[in-house]
Amino acid sequence: MTDPSSPVPPMASNESWRDWLLTAEPHSRHQARLGRAYVTWRRFSENRLAVTGLLIIVALVLIAAFADLLAPHSATIGNLAGARLLPPGSPGFLLGTDDQGRDILSRLLIGSRITLAVVALVAIIAAPVGLLIGTVSGFAGGYVDAVLMRITDIFLAFPKLILALAFVAALGPGIENAVIAIALTSWPPYARLARAETLGVRNSDYISAVRLMGASPARIVIRHIMPMCLSSLIVRVTLDMAGIILTAAGLGFLGLGAQPPMPEWGTMIASGRRFILDQWWVATMPGIAILIVSLGFNLLGDGLRDALDPREAGR
């Protein structure tokens, strides 16, 4: 780090952590950043709904990580002889069993991995693509901007689910293809957002200063513009995650996403559809899981937006 200020011990004896973090005159970049994060966290944690959302997501990650230990039964091999379509609360099967005699709770727990993987993969593919296209388009301007934004608009004009359906139809059903299809349809809003943020900063003094120092356009975009777009992009991606989960579940429900023995939640609803009249729990439980998780992402996204962007707070 090229830190001009003299290193100051993080905590003087009579100072508390809080004062150190909230100081108006930080002594190092490190301190300023930590202080900024602390203020954001305080604003975020004031919002009870947002913290609930965060807890749901943390729980989801933990469940996905330890699903093997938590699941009481196998997710794919059922007990056809003695445990078909047991109602919730049956001994040993808290949420009941499905038509193959599989424990629904275990399937939900293992299935959280698929949900999390889909969300993470789509975010990892779509967000950087959108960020790159948006920043390059906004920074370069001219023809590059016009062409890139036209392409973005074309994808934006498409109905998302229909486009994903058509892609999966051509690629063939499967969870990987569903991820590709959803990623292909979700980058355009990120490009739009990143472009707007880029236009906001491209003419500011610090960019001119960096350019005077001889930085290449690539370096300016990557080191000095992209970080400015990150916070709004993170908010947007978090808010979109619920939509990604719902789209993936919808594709699974139509039989185009994850394929049957996989405990994907949408697919589980589809297979429970036949028994909905008499064994309601087979289709109901996965739906509750989807609802809770996407609600968690929505609450988290709302809270993040309020914390990171005070202008929009309370809207």
Binding site: I154, F158, L165, A170, T284, G287, I290, R315
Partner: protein, 353 residues
């Protein structure tokens, strides 16, 4: 006098501005539509490993494969194929559906009114409830009412629509027997009722067949309410945001100072100004419902374009899938541009510039 003299070039400039705007609009429409067709072409011809094998099967002799390849024009260079595809699509020829053996466009013409009716009912419910809820939430910001509207909206954003559809069928159809299912009409009416426009509610009311109207209503109310709930979530949230924006303006203070009643200020002054962006939002949610009906139609066996697409998907009928995609995409583009146009029309500030 100077003002009058200056007005001539100003008018000319405005006309030229309009022409430029119109030109830009036309280019946008053309490129977006071209992009739509390019993507569907890409999906239909390039992504599958070999479309010919998909039709004749992998056990067909090589001579047959070769003949079909030539018949379908797959031996031509890609750009030439695209050109032919473009020409056919612009003429409304999306090929023959393998499943129904009808031309795809004819099939779509038959099923589209069902989707249109469903989305219209959904939007009416969504806007009819969503706008007042959003206004109340904005006026009583931070109150319990605001929190409830927020939670209702958040759940609407988070719930899988097909799951909610299944559960509501279980409750309102199977247990309570309040609504009818499946499809748009009972079998008894299916052969006695001849639709005119394809919008059954309208047709039945027009021909004064009240029993048919009641039956159609009992069929549409549940899927319509579900879609309505989804657009309600979006519309109420946006209404709240727009209203908060308006209520903070100075003209509201002026209206209060004038001694107008709070009700008049909120519902007449503020809502009227908020309604400009709201029209766009409602138009967009209408377009979203046309798309969102795919899952709802599947759950409710509603014979619309969504069910048509999913049925074709399950039978690997790519012509029908892509035809449906093009039609929904075109409607989507049209509504998007129309809402843009409406915004310009309604907001005087965008007019003079």
């Amino acid at each position: 006098m100077a003002a009058i003299e200056a007005s001539k070039p100003a008018r000319r400039r405005r006309v030229r501005g309009l022409a430029v705007n119109f030109g830009r609009f036309a280019i946008m429409l053309a490129t977006t539509f071209l992009g739509l067709l390019a993507v569907t072409f890409f999906i239909g011809r390039v992504v599958p490993i070999d479309p010919v094998l998909a039709i004749v099967g992998d056990r067909a002799p090589a001579s047959v494969v070769e003949r079909v390849r030539e018949q379908m024009g797959f031996n031509l260079p890609l750009w030439e194929q695209f050109f032919i595809y473009l020409k056919q699509a612009l003429a409304g020829d999306f090929g023959i559906s393998v499943l129904t053996t009808n031309p795809v466009l004819e099939d779509i013409r038959n099923v589209f009114p069902a989707t249109l009716e469903l989305a219209t009912v959904g939007t009416l419910i969504g806007a009819g409830l969503g706008v007042p809820l959003g206004v109340v939430a904005a006026v009583r910001r931070g109150s319990i009412a605001d929190q409830i509207v927020r939670i209702v909206g958040l759940i609407g954003y988070s719930v899988p629509i097909f799951w909610l559809g299944l559960l509501s069928l279980l409750l309102f159809y199977a247990r309570l027997k309040w609504v009818a299912y499946p499809g748009r009409l009972d079998v008894a009416y299916e052969y006695t009722f001849t639709p005119i426009t394809g919008l059954y509610l309208f047709d039945a009311a027009w021909t004064r067949q009240w029993d048919v109207l009641w039956d159609a209503f009992r069929h549409i109310i549940l899927p319509g309410s579900l879609l309505g709930y989804f657009s309600l979530a979006y519309i109420s949230r946006m209404t709240r945001s727009f209203m908060l924006n308006e209520l903070g303006q100075e003209y509201i203070v002026a209206a209060r100072a004038k001694g107008l009643s709070e009700r008049r200020i909120v519902w007449f002054h503020a809502l009227r100004n908020a309604s400009v962006p709201l029209v766009t939002v409602i138009a967009l949610s209408y377009a979203g419902l046309l798309e969102g009906s795919v899952l709802t139609e599947t759950v409710f066996s509603w014979p619309g374009i969504g069910l048509y697409i999913t049925n074709s998907l399950q039978n690997a009928d790519m012509n029908a899938v892509l035809g449906g995609t093009i039609v929904i995409g075109s409607v989507f583009i049209a509504i998007n541009l129309f809402s843009d146009f409406l915004y310009r029309l309604l907001d005087p500030r965008t007019r003079a510039k």
